[in-house]
Amino acid sequence: MNYPVWDIPFLGNGLIVAIIAIIHILISHLAIGGGAFLFVAELWSNRQSNGGKIREWLHDYATYFLVYTTVFGAVTGVGIWFAIQLANAEATSLLIHQFVFAWATEWVMFLAELTILYLYYYGWRKNSRSIQTFLAGAYFVISWFSLFIINGILTFMLTPGSWSLAKPDIFAGFFNPGFLPSLLIRSLFMFLLGGLFSLIIASRVSEDDFREKIINFSVKWVIPAAIFIPFLLLWYWSTLPENTVTLVKEGIRGIGGGRLEAITRYFWLAITSGVLIVIGTAIVAIRPKVVSIAGMIGLFMIAQFGVMGAEFFREMARKPYVIYDVLYSNSLWKQNSLNTDYMKTPYLEKAAWEPGIEPLSREHGEWLFRLQCASCHTRNGYRSIVSRTENWSGEFGYRWFLTMHESGVMPPFQGDDYDRAALSAYLVSLNGGFITADEILKKVEPEQSPADTLSLGEMSSGEKQP
């Protein structure tokens, strides 16, 4: 509303956020789980007869870990931030202004964990065992706290709890209902990743017995997740808004004109990946001798797909909000949406970012689409509006905009009849149809003529009479 909408054709700004996020989430969790792995492996190696050899291998692990997490992890992390500024400035601004010092604290964690990681890695050969172990431990603890912080902000977006614009209590928002289950799930998941990543590095070891030793050590990291995540998921599930729950359940049979609803599909993607990771790890545990690099990378990539499923689920679970019950995905404030006058005023009067176009022209519809729809829908790409409005008539759209909010996945429409007509005409034109806003208004004229409403009134009154 207040900000321009970054109108990226075909991809759409939402998908760009998703792509960066999916890459980042896997790496950022690995960055913590791997830290834990390094720490525990240090301790373990101290108690092993061939500890030196293990540490040689651990250096291998650390090298790949360092490059992978710092280059791709850190940069994509900033990338998400960049992308959400562009995709939804209003929400980003709110989050930043509410949580700026939470983020600043997280940044202190970044600075510390990064520096410690470098001290750990570059001091490898010279540092005493105790210092190395301490550094690894410190790295793990500090990086886990960075997760602790960002987890609060992320869960806030889906379940703000008792936080409200009127009473913006940061701690209520931070320790929201979803906070704890999500934090625990993420923690177990990151251990799992630490183990899977180690399997990849281990599969490069040529010496059979040693490889087997490492693998037996690594597969154990999957066990906690395998046991507890199902229960934690149930807990997390119980904290979800019930609109979300219905969406997923209905999705199984395909609501909204068929097609298994996207949110359900992605939910099942996440579940499937979880199951297959456990199976795969079990197989590796049974036959540690035969791991292949391709296979272990495959196993790790399953986790990547799991993240993809979970992330799309999390994104869609917020529909139609970006911050649940506070701000709609298209930057319409919930509180404004309750104000009928605000909603009914001609959109062009409110829109700051339209270049003074004349009403009922095609541009009118186009700019309505850009400013109200383009934050989620592209014309013919991701969440294509064309495929969603294929067999629309101008009048249908005109009427549907009034009720679309009731579907539970769309924000309410802002604007008057002219706006609805203009947008509907634009969407029809995108599908190659030809109808102008005026024609639509003419067609629907009779329904709105005072005569009609009058007769309706009579009928109802007639019924009242005994």
């Binding site: 199984i252 049979r253 599909r265 992605y266 297959l276 199976i279 197989i283 036959r287 499923g309």
Partner: protein
Amino acid sequence: MTYYSILPDAESRLHDHSKLFGKVSRYILRRYPVWPMIDHLANKVVPVHKHSVWYNIGGIALFFFSVQIITGVLLMIYYRPGLPWDSIQRIVMEVPFGNMIRSIHHWSANLMVFTLFVHMFSTFFMKAYRRPREFTWLVGAVLMGMTLIFGFSGYLLPWDDLSFFATRVGMSEIEKAPLIGMWLADIVRGGSDVTIDTIGRFYVLHVMVLPLLTLAAIGVHLFFIQVQGVSEPDSFASLPESRKRYRKYFTEFIFAEIPVWLFLGVLLVALSAAFPRELMPEADPFSSAPEGIKPEWYFLAQYQLLKFFPGKLEMVGLILLLLLPLGILVVPFIDRAIPANSRGRLVNRIGIIALLGLIVYTLWGWLS
């Protein structure tokens, strides 16, 4: 009643008596003494070299095929050849997870075709078709052909306007085949045009005839491989015995591949989550054809090539098309020298040209 005794050397390789697994295996082996087979299989090895990765592709294709069987059977439960479109519509709209099963079937089919192409070309460039493996190669070629027919017949079954007109176009290409063209097309269609009768034929072909034939052919293909062992590329064969490294086929090679299959399983779910198979409006044999009629990608190359031979010239195009399968069939008998001689290298070059041509034309047809 008499039991066969278990050979002592075999006994030594069994799990000990206490373990359940050991008990069961003894129980069975006393009755069915299949030791010779087990020994034979257990001694199977796969050479380890920098091209070994290509040995996995066949297994991957097999994985996709098994996915096809499972999802296919599930789809058959609701599919009605009498009401093709409506029953698919029901699967998509009403049956829980119907669309996911259908999408997985769709994606697995495409990936299977793709994998087979990779498998075929990798075997080709590793020259695995040479004596004594000519017939393993030929059976493989037959499998490739049957898979393409699988795709073609399955594409019609939803009976939406895209698949209807695409099939009509495809059949009209068959019609153009010299001499038998018309006759063949009519037999396949069960008439001079694609009708509901055609569904009957394609359905039986797709869910009955082809699966049986394919399973049989796969059996033969694998049997040959088990008898002869995996082929070794010249670079490996020329090594001194001391420097040749091998892995056990079943206990190591297959095991190492399982995680890859799991990954592909997730890939299928991910693809069908991100790109579920759409169902177009029901086919109407009388209305004008919709825009953007194109065959599946694995027929695009032929389709694109034929565009260059309009009208009378079409015959030339068809003959050109026949060259590729023909070459595949005869190559084991014209290029036999081990290690490869000048002719072998020539064949390789031709193969590269064919591959590039295939890729270029497919992309071209896809973009145009």
